[in-house]
């Protein structure tokens, strides 16, 4: 159970790393992904989750744990280091 969980956790980190590489550029600005890349990223993530779930249920839970950890570390801890709010920067949302 623990091994399966850790395996799923690592898979989530690896998938995120590969997706990050797709958006990386040496110019320091990440390129906006195209429609194909977006569809592929969700298909790969969904397929990986499905395969892990079929292999061992706890591997799929491990993948959820991996994504939850990434979110806490990058989005929440990172969010405390900048002037960000629920869906915008400080003050009135720029989208409106």
């Amino acid at each position: 159970m623990v091994v399966a969980f850790v395996f799923g956790f690592v898979i989530a980190i690896v998938i995120d790393f590969i997706l990050s590489l797709g958006a990386f550029s040496f110019q320091g600005t990440s390129s906006a992904p195209g429609a194909g890349q977006i569809v592929m990223s969700w298909l790969v993530t969904g397929a990986a989750f499905w395969i892990l779930y079929k292999m061992h249920r706890w591997a799929a839970y491990g993948m959820l744990g991996g994504f939850a950890s990434l979110f806490v570390l990058l989005a929440l801890v990172g969010g405390a280091l900048g002037p960000y709010t629920c869906f915008s920067t400080y003050g009135y949302p720029p989208l409106r």
């Binding site: 997706l19 992904p33 969010g79 009135y92």
Partner: protein, 252 residues
């Protein structure tokens, strides 16, 4: 307003992100405390908790399409953007709906027919109460509508006082937490009913507090957030309506 709470070695720690993280940690701590009290086994708490968390992340972002329209699509569709702190997690209403769905699916995958999710009910209220402090300190969405009430507060950028709407939310959720803790062992509030009461109570309060918040009115004098609250309440009413019909059928 206090946009920056403190500094660590010259690095500013911003109030919104700090209280968002603290709210989440509070939520997790209350779930653990309540799960232990209910003797809810870890092999059920962990998968259901994780699925609820990831469901919450997705729901919070996906719901932005409902609130902001197609403009929000890049933040919803691009998977990497979910981890981008500059975009923010999204809406709490969407997070609640997504977490509920994620927890429900995980519960089914474990072969559970009933709902063991009531441990999440007080956690939701207390987590929200803490998180809203950050919304107030960061002056998110301009805090609230103009007000002349004695407790109205000044905000940067405008020369009038406004409703401290996030603090209303926080105060309600502290009170709601106390109510949910007091009711948590009531025989009729088991098997998922306490969580449904927690969600329904917050949706009802949020519908009311929206009248003093700065969200855009979309139709008939109501904001998209109010329509989301009405949808949540309608879903709960439909569930209890169907359940009552089933009970009446069994009695016949």
């Amino acid at each position: 307003m206090v946009p920056v709470l403190f500094e660590i070695a010259g690095v500013p720690i911003y109030s919104h992100g700090f209280f968002l993280l603290l709210g989440l940690l509070t939520c997790v701590a209350v779930v653990i405390w309540e799960a232990r009290r209910r003797r809810w086994p870890p092999h059920e708490v962990i998968p259901i908790g994780l699925a609820a968390f990831v469901g919450g992340i997705l729901g919070a972002r996906i719901s932005m399409l409902f609130f902001y329209g197609w403009e929000a699509a890049p933040a919803v569709l691009v998977q990497q953007s979910y981890f981008d702190p500059s975009i923010g997690p999204g809406s709490i209403l969407g997070a609640i709906a997504g977490a509920y769905l994620g927890g429900h699916l995980a519960s089914r995958s474990l072969g559970k027919t009933g709902c063991t999710c009531d441990a999440f009910a007080p956690a939701l209220a207390l987590g929200l109460a803490v998180g809203r402090i950050g919304d107030y300190l960061s002056a998110e969405d301009g805090v609230g509508k103009a007000s002349t009430l004695p407790w109205a507060v000044p905000v940067p950028g405008v020369d009038y006082l406004v409703h401290p709407a996030p603090l209303y939310d926080s105060a309600f959720n502290i009170l709601w937490f106390v109510v949910l803790v007091a009711l948590r062992d009531h025989p009729r509030l088991q098997d998922g009913n306490l969580l449904k009461l927690a969600v329904g109570g917050y949706a009802f309060f949020r519908f009311l507090v929206e009248f003093v918040r700065n969200n855009d009115v979309v139709a008939f004098g109501l904001t998209a957030q109010q329509y989301a609250c009405l949808l949540l309440l309608a879903g709960l009413a439909a569930y209890y309506g169907r359940r009552r019909d089933r009970v009446l059928e069994l009695r016949r």
